[in-house]
Symmetry: D3
Subunit: 131 residues, 6 copies
């Protein structure tokens, strides 16, 4: 079975019903897609392909922002921001990084974005385990 196999237990809520299912994996998958798009762009000079890369990266980056914003505004509560005082800035910096990623095909930015999302995920799972 999929979930059992990967030992991730359960995934957690993500809409502001709230359904209670949040998962930083959603932002990460989009960010991995962005990194793959950037790699492919840099290896391909075709004009149409490159224009599509811009269009699709824009949309994937929008989704990263959307997924992260939901975590920031709906999953994390005051008590968590008190416990992790740098968490507001971590989210804000990560979103600013998404804007940077939209503006270039520099693979370093997309790597930094993945790192930032992983830092958020670390805190997310720490909080989940303590619930």
């Amino acid at each position: 079975m999929f979930i059992k196999k990967y030992k991730i237990g359960v995934a957690y809520a993500h809409c502001d019903l709230p359904c209670g299912v949040y998962n930083p994996m959603q932002a990460r998958i989009e960010a991995e897609s962005i990194k793959a798009i950037i790699d492919k762009y840099n290896a391909n000079k075709d004009e149409t392909f490159r224009a599509r890369c811009v269009v699709i990266k824009e949309e994937r980056a929008r989704l990263v922002k959307e997924h992260l914003s939901i975590l920031w505004s709906d999953f994390f509560k005051d008590e968590h921001f008190n416990k992790y005082p740098h968490l507001h800035k971590l989210f804000n910096d990560t979103l600013k990084l998404v804007t940077l990623v939209k503006n270039s095909f520099d693979v370093n930015n997309s790597t930094k974005l993945l790192d930032s999302i992983d830092q958020i995920a670390d805190i997310f799972w720490e909080v989940k385990r303590s619930m």
Copy 2:
């Protein structure tokens, strides 16, 4: 680190650039959200809350369909459909199940949907490993 911790190695591509990053987890997270919405609906008689459940379940179900359709049309190739002759029908049945899930708050349907997605995920990861 998030990904290493859960031993899922890497997530794989999902847009039709194609970026090459596909992951059945995306459909599963939405389906888990749907199950959570159905549970909450059945435990809450508030009219506004219930109407929101309909609206949000509709959108989450749409996303399940979207994520599954991408796997079916862009990730899996003829060779995979040849190797797994029931795969077309498995996808088609799963999408029909999503329509059923939209039409009720019967938790059994959402459980069946999760099972179906897991069956697709089993095949997906089997194919990934053999690449």
Copy 3:
């Protein structure tokens, strides 16, 4: 010709309420638009115009996929897939063709896409008449 061939009297349902109104014409109009966009792209060197062609073709192609996916998952039932054993593959190939159409401005692909949609429409109307 598409419309004349089927002498359609009414259009039929297309959402998964289901409202019961499905019509392959919706996919076809978008595919005709794509063909027109490709023709105009190839006749016009203006950079802005060409970038817009990429953006708009992407969206129209997304709509072709959406309209076809609904027919595949909501209009056609098991009995139809039994009667037309190649129908799953026909849909799958057509969706793969849409991805190809997104990736180039080769008019041949868009012509093949129209042909494929017409083959689906042939089966669709045959099923409709036998209902």
Copy 4:
């Protein structure tokens, strides 16, 4: 009947590239869907079903507005508005009718909407033939 009446041979362009493919059929299919939704709503007392009808009708009606707005702003030119002096008001009244259709499940409004769209289509095809 709509299609038979016009003996249309091809469908015509609809985005503001412009691709040059416009077709009032797009608005009509959505309006037929709306009529079917209203009929089904009135024959079904299930709370979830009815809530879904509201959600889906809202979206279909939005699409009717979108398709009609494109015809009004991009297909028809000054010369057509001069030739058909009531055309502005016909479009405006039809859009106001869509708002009315959103606000109730009165089947009369959806029938009037179909009639209005057919009047627009009459003029549309008259203009097409004279091009």
Copy 5:
């Protein structure tokens, strides 16, 4: 200047519930964004930046059309079109101007668009004050 000229005290309704809150400011902000995008495009030769300008201008222009269409179909009534006989044409010309703005990075078109929106806003606030 737009805001100062009207001394607006409150903003007014804009969905077709209708919530009764309409405000031409929504269209204007998007049009100002378009003008800013065009200025930045003309001052920057970077390929990625320019492609993003096309994508984002397309979306902003779509929003201008959407906001204007709502004013035209939902805020203004027959009595207003009778009082301002050129109002239909003013809206139609403005929407056609949006299409033109999508098709180039000529700053003159975006300036004309702002002027046209201001003319609509003049009439809008005149009507509001007389309610």
Copy 6:
């Protein structure tokens, strides 16, 4: 009152091109729409009307979140968060308020939301004037 208080002369940028045009008015107009929807809901017992209120309020609230998120992640820089140390929390609380507003038709929440947006706007214009 919001507009009069700031004597705003021009509206400012809002996409992450960035076009440089940000304006808290966009969030405020949607929040005013929400308040109007809540008032109308409480004065109207019609089932269809009320269901539409839920659907439309959901969308308007989503737009409030979107507009605020852009201000938070793209307009405000580190120096502003240093100068206004409560600004992160103010945004976060305001977004949490939007979730609350989605979940009820209590007019108090929508009034608090307008107040919160005005507090953000105060800081926004203070920053703008000092640029």
